[in-house]
């Protein structure tokens, strides 16, 4: 029987020849990802159920990347990282990226592929809803809670329902003013905030193929913002090049069957899409940037797993070069590698650091999740009042960046940068 990409990966992980939507199957897990916010609770569940002295099922497959509350004075946040460190030592985990040491990475969803833990065809579970990011490299990846993660820690498998596949084909040429963020916000705007509940969102088409791995990650990252179980893109040469540059571990890529039935199909032409925003307070509140010029802003924020990759900072710098920002503009690289790439990268002989400094942006923050999800009160960039923010992050729920009274507009880094210059929501084409 013909199967989609997601079904094929799950069938292989379940040791079955065929699986179909709605089947409940036990799948073998390749990678379990956790971080400082959900890791201690996961460890608590694991020890409660398997015993205090129990060992994880495979110390090379539990990857711990603290990233949420790192640069804070909050005592419990530090205690939580200590819990992870003690556990990693006791369990002899191969991959614990410890804050305050040279192994620290930053935001787990950008760090996971950068450290070579995302490989096509594999099954990844993480205690974070944006684990769906990793489908960008042709893996099945989804977010789970502490209890399921504690179960995997001991058992190495999990019972899951095979999702229906919704296919989104994006064809045409991607114009220079359009980013992955604009594509996914358009799709979420069309199908709604719960439009892909329990489903796999599969993205393909010639426009998707043109996108870099980082841009594909932006798209898959936000599958959860339509309620999807996973986002996924079939691997291609770009995928293999990226994966092989980050790991020498072998993997076996999986491809969907061309004749596999899907639950629904939508087709887009990238050349007709325009820069957009998601208005407060849900990511499906789609509006064209050029039709929201009247929205005055207090702050621009460029960072997070969705919008803090090197490609995002290059895009922002292209717009900001030679201009001054009119509002405080916060820059938070997702990972140490991104921060280093910002130092190394240049546009027309000028470093990104110089471009951002001359534009009047705030000093670049150390890599972490920072204000994307509010966090402790001393978190960098956290809102505390009635600020209106344009942000490259992925969620704009009430209180998401700290204050319940603040208003968040989600946008691409191009649009966030153009808007920073004007102090109003601005279509980046005005500066291109």
């Amino acid at each position: 029987m013909a199967m989609t990409l997601t079904e094929k990966i799950l069938a292989r992980a379940a040791g079955k020849r065929v699986v179909g939507p709605g089947d409940n199957v036990w799948v073998e897990v390749d990678i379990l990802l956790t971080h400082d916010v959900c890791g201690p609770g996961t460890i608590g569940v694991f020890q409660r159920e398997f015993g205090n002295m129990a060992k994880v099922w495979d110390p090379s497959k539990v990857v711990i990347i603290p990233d949420h509350y790192i640069f804070t004075a909050d005592e419990k946040a530090h205690r939580n990282v200590d819990t992870l460190r003690d556990f990693a030592q006791y369990q002899k985990l191969a991959y614990f990226y410890d804050p305050g040491t040279p192994t620290y990475k930053g935001v787990c969803h950008v760090a996971l592929p950068q450290t070579g833990h995302v490989r096509p065809g594999e099954v990844i579970f993480g205690t974070d809803s944006h684990t769906c990011t990793h489908g960008a490299l042709g893996a099945f990846a989804t977010g789970i809670g502490n209890t399921d993660a504690g179960f995997i820690m001991g058992a190495g498998k999990l019972l899951i329902k095979v999702p229906k596949t919704m296919r989104f084909t994006v064809n045409g040429t991607v114009p220079p003013y359009l980013m992955g963020k604009d594509i996914i916000l358009k799709i979420i705007g069309d199908i709604g905030f719960d439009g892909a509940s329990y489903c796999a969102m599969e993205f393909n088409g010639t426009a998707i193929r043109q996108l870099s791995i980082e841009e594909r990650m932006t798209i898959c990252n936000m599958a959860i913002e339509a309620g999807a179980k996973n986002g996924i893109i079939e691997p291609d040469e770009k995928t293999f090049e990226y994966v092989k540059a980050h790991t020498n571990k072998p993997f076996e890529a999986v491809y969907g069957d061309a004749d596999a039935p899907v639950d629904s199909e939508r087709t887009y032409d990238a050349s007709t899409l325009e820069p957009c925003v998601a208005e407060p307070h849900v990511p499906s509140n789609y509006a064209l940037a050029r039709e929201r010029n009247d929205v005055k802003l207090d702050r621009s924020y460029i960072g997070s797993c969705t919008g803090g990759k090197i490609t995002d900072f290059l895009a922002a710098a292209r717009i900001l070069k030679g201009h001054k920002v009119a509002i405080p503009t916060f820059l938070v690289p997702a990972t140490v590698e991104v921060a280093e790439d910002i130092i190394k990268s240049e546009i027309d002989g000028k470093s990104l650091i110089e471009i951002f400094a001359e534009a009047g942006c705030e000093d670049i923050a150390p890599p972490s999740c920072a204000a994307c999800l509010g966090g402790p009160e001393d978190t960098f960039g956290r809102t505390s009042g009635t600020e209106t923010v344009i942000s490259t992050t992925n969620r704009n729920f009430p209180g998401r960046m700290g204050s319940k009274q603040s208003r968040i507009y989600l946008a691409s880094p191009l649009t966030a940068a153009a808007s920073a210059i004007r102090g109003r929501i601005t279509d980046p084409r005005e500066f291109m």
Binding site: G44, G145, D148, P376, R400
Partner: protein
Amino acid sequence: MKTIQGTVYVVRDDIDTDQIIPAQYLNLVPTIPEEYAKLGSYALCGLPDGYPPFVKPGASTADYPILIAGRNFGCGSSREHAPVCLGAAGVKAVVAESYARIFFRNCVSTGELYPFETPIRLCEVFKTGDRAEIDVGGAHLTNCTTGKTYSIKELGAVAPVVEAGGIFAYARKSGIIK
């Protein structure tokens, strides 16, 4: 026959996990008993202004064992702190038109509360403060204040996991783990 009864608290559509438990409280670890209790005291404190407080100031639990919601309840983050804080606040069941996948799954896996679905838009017909009774086996919900009865959906494929008491109990029962 198992029943759940008590006063209901009503919310509307797209209540996300930041509203259920704002991120600044995610430094609390649900498996540490005193932090579990603390999480309960913050349950639903992220709701927009206009909602009555779910947990009264100074209290550690809520007076509402039943939560009635619209569509897409629990959307957003995978934080298990969300079902946990509701359970810690004394909530026994949520009855919503639909759930976000991970929240629903976390309710089932933890056994913290029953996530019932209903085809009826109950958030329009119930008011916070109404008394209700859920007949779990009979799959219906009665508004004791108005006397009206509404159907709720069977739990379906997850029923065996719920009946066993969560993913660990289910896996032990079916021999997947010891």
